[in-house]
Amino acid sequence: MQLVLEKRAERSTAIAIASPLIAVALTLVTVGILFAIMGKNPITALYVYFIEPLTDPFSLAEIAVKATPLVMIAVGLSLCYIANIWNIGAEGQFLVGAIAGSWLAVRTNGTDAGAWVLPVMLILGALGGALYAMIPALCKIRFGASEILTSLMLVYVAYYGMDYLVRGPWRDPHGLNFPTTAPFDPAATVPALIDGSRLHAGTLVALVVVMIAAVMLGRTIMGFEIKLIGAAPRAARFSGFNSDQLVLLTFAVSGGLAGLAGIIEVAGPIGYLQPDISPGYGFTAIIVAFLGRLNPVGILIAGLFLALTFIGGENAEIAMKVPQDLTKVFQGILLFYVLACDSMIVYRIRLVSTFRNPVHA
């Protein structure tokens, strides 16, 4: 007997809708088994992980704070992935955006520069991310170099660049030798939505991004082009769409959004630039994009869910002495199941006898 994939005559709509839910359910079962192996009660553990954070306002605000960068990055990435363009270097674009915006914050630190600082920082962040994303995009259209590899390699270059800046020229002279910049001035800080909460205005930006993306994909020619070039590249070329332009555009948008997310993260919840500003948002956003079925509204839900795993993981570490690493295990398994379920939209699995039946052969 052998497992064989068979292409479905048409995409299964039922599975397309159910796929993320099946994936989440399978992940919960798998992680439950893992808890049992570790000697913890699976029901209690899953409760601490996924329900408890939803019951107190502090955790709810934290979920929104964590979901903000995930959703912004994932919306940009989804445009690339729909068009079959593989930007996987969002983490690097996030970091460069943070660096570009922080430059102004560091320069104006301690001066009485006015309210213009923050908006300019956000613009610089988006520009920085977009320009950094232009490197893999141009390498692809100009030389045919695989954007998968170039965008990934540039993540580490960005990381070391930022590390150099905060340990070297941008280090806070009054900062007790910690590798951080000076805390940003109030004029260079994203304001809190509610006084005393970590919930900040950047979350609203993420919501606006989701709305714009939903309208653009569903209602504009550009959205149509992106979808067409992904689904039927030959047909798109025959009808005169310029695929090079689309590579530049999707990279610019995804890089810009990642960069914007980066500067919002630094100027919002963190408040200064330091070597580790991201627990891998740029990579987790890839899971978010797929779990959200590359759809802006789906991504919003998926982003909140992934943020929940971060917060639940922190809670579980304190309450049940479960290592934080479990959050990564959880995210990895979830992505596996999402991808496997997505495959079932296009294919069906057939068990085929390895011995050919002579009557039907």
């Binding site: 994939l5 590899l149 890839i286 934080q324 690493d325 295990v329 995210q331 991808l339 496997a340």
Partner: protein, 316 residues
């Protein structure tokens, strides 16, 4: 500045430097050798880092429990292969996107190795011993470089030679390259594309697992979570840097190993070269090489395997 150049030269030409570079390069060479075969078969597995760190955790656990380096190395190999099997099942069996699956493998491996290794943090083992040969090891200069390494180092060299012979001197190697360059034609000729790719993926997993196991078994005698520290990504870069050729892979591995080690020494010399610049050199070099080989594709013969990363579903 002259003095500084002199200091660097002095450092590079010392026997200890060469010994350290060989040790630092071995995990890169082991992991990259496996990935080279995987990519030659047309599969892009971005999960090397995840397979390596699992190899490190399981390798240390095995060696600690059994008190044997060989058992530890085997545990690392098996762990790497198990991770690779998951990757193979999804990308080959279910035709799932290889890029996303590879990244998921790294995320999963990082987490899982932390869970497995958490019980072993702070423990120590007796590391793999250097093999000393009478007379030969005592030779001046070359003695310790050629005849004073641990078994992993010799194995890594043998592995690359074996891979070179397999790819270019055997029929099976030719079939593997054909599958990587044009899976449709290979399938039409009757070769089992998915089976060959699965074997290649498992081989890559075994190599990555061994490379990971090298770290706690021979490099440092203990396990730290995340101890692969990005070596999996450098190994991935290395395969591209070597433009998918085993010979260049050896040169590239020792070059990257030297750069990673130099970054520590240069920092100590206080030359004003930021260590972060040295750390990012392998990645920058890979981007440049990728652009160069992509530009000359078609004129300068084989660069990337033509079917690299493309999903294949056989029609029956």
């Amino acid at each position: 500045m002259l003095d500084a150049t002199g200091q660097i030269l002095h450092l590079i030409l010392s026997v200890n430097f060469i010994l350290t570079v060989i040790t630092a390069s071995t995990p890169l060479l082991l992991a990259a050798s496996g990935e080279l075969v995987v990519e030659r078969a047309g599969v892009l597995n971005l999960g090397i880092e995840g397979m390596m760190i699992m190899g490190a955790a399981c390798g240390f656990a095995g060696a600690y429990e059994s008190d044997s380096i060989v058992v530890g190395a085997l545990c690392g190999v098996v762990a790497g292969m198990a991770m690779a099997a998951v990757f193979g099942f999804l990308t080959l069996g279910l035709a799932v996107n290889q890029v996303a699956t590879g990244l998921a493998l790294t995320i999963l491996g990082t987490g899982l190795s932390g869970l497995i290794g958490s019980g072993f943090v702070g423990e120590r083992i007796t590391p793999a011993q250097q093999l000393y040969l009478p007379v030969l090891t005592g030779l001046p200069v070359i003695g310790r470089i050629l005849f004073g390494q641990d078994a992993f180092v010799y194995f890594s060299i043998a592995l690359v030679i074996g891979i070179w012979m397999f790819l270019y001197r055997t029929r099976a190697g030719l079939v593997l390259r054909a599958v990587g360059d044009n899976h449709t034609s290979a399938h039409a000729l009757g070769y089992p594309v998915l089976k060959i790719r699965m074997l290649a993926v498992l081989f890559g997993g075994a190599c990555a697992g061994l490379a990971g196991a090298f770290l706690p078994l021979a490099y440092t005698p203990f396990f730290i979570p995340g101890m692969t520290a990005g070596r999996g990504w450098i190994a991935l870069a290395l395969v591209v840097f070597a433009s998918w050729r085993p010979g260049r892979l050896v040169a590239g591995a020792y070059l990257f190993g030297a750069v990673t080690f130099l970054q520590l020494s240069v920092q100590g010399l206080g030359l004003g070269i930021p260590p972060q610049l040295m750390s990012s050199l392998p990645y920058l070099a890979t981007v440049v090489v990728l652009v160069l080989i992509s530009r000359t594709r078609g004129t300068a013969g084989s660069a990337a395997p033509a079917s690299l990363g493309v999903v294949f579903v056989p029609d029956r």
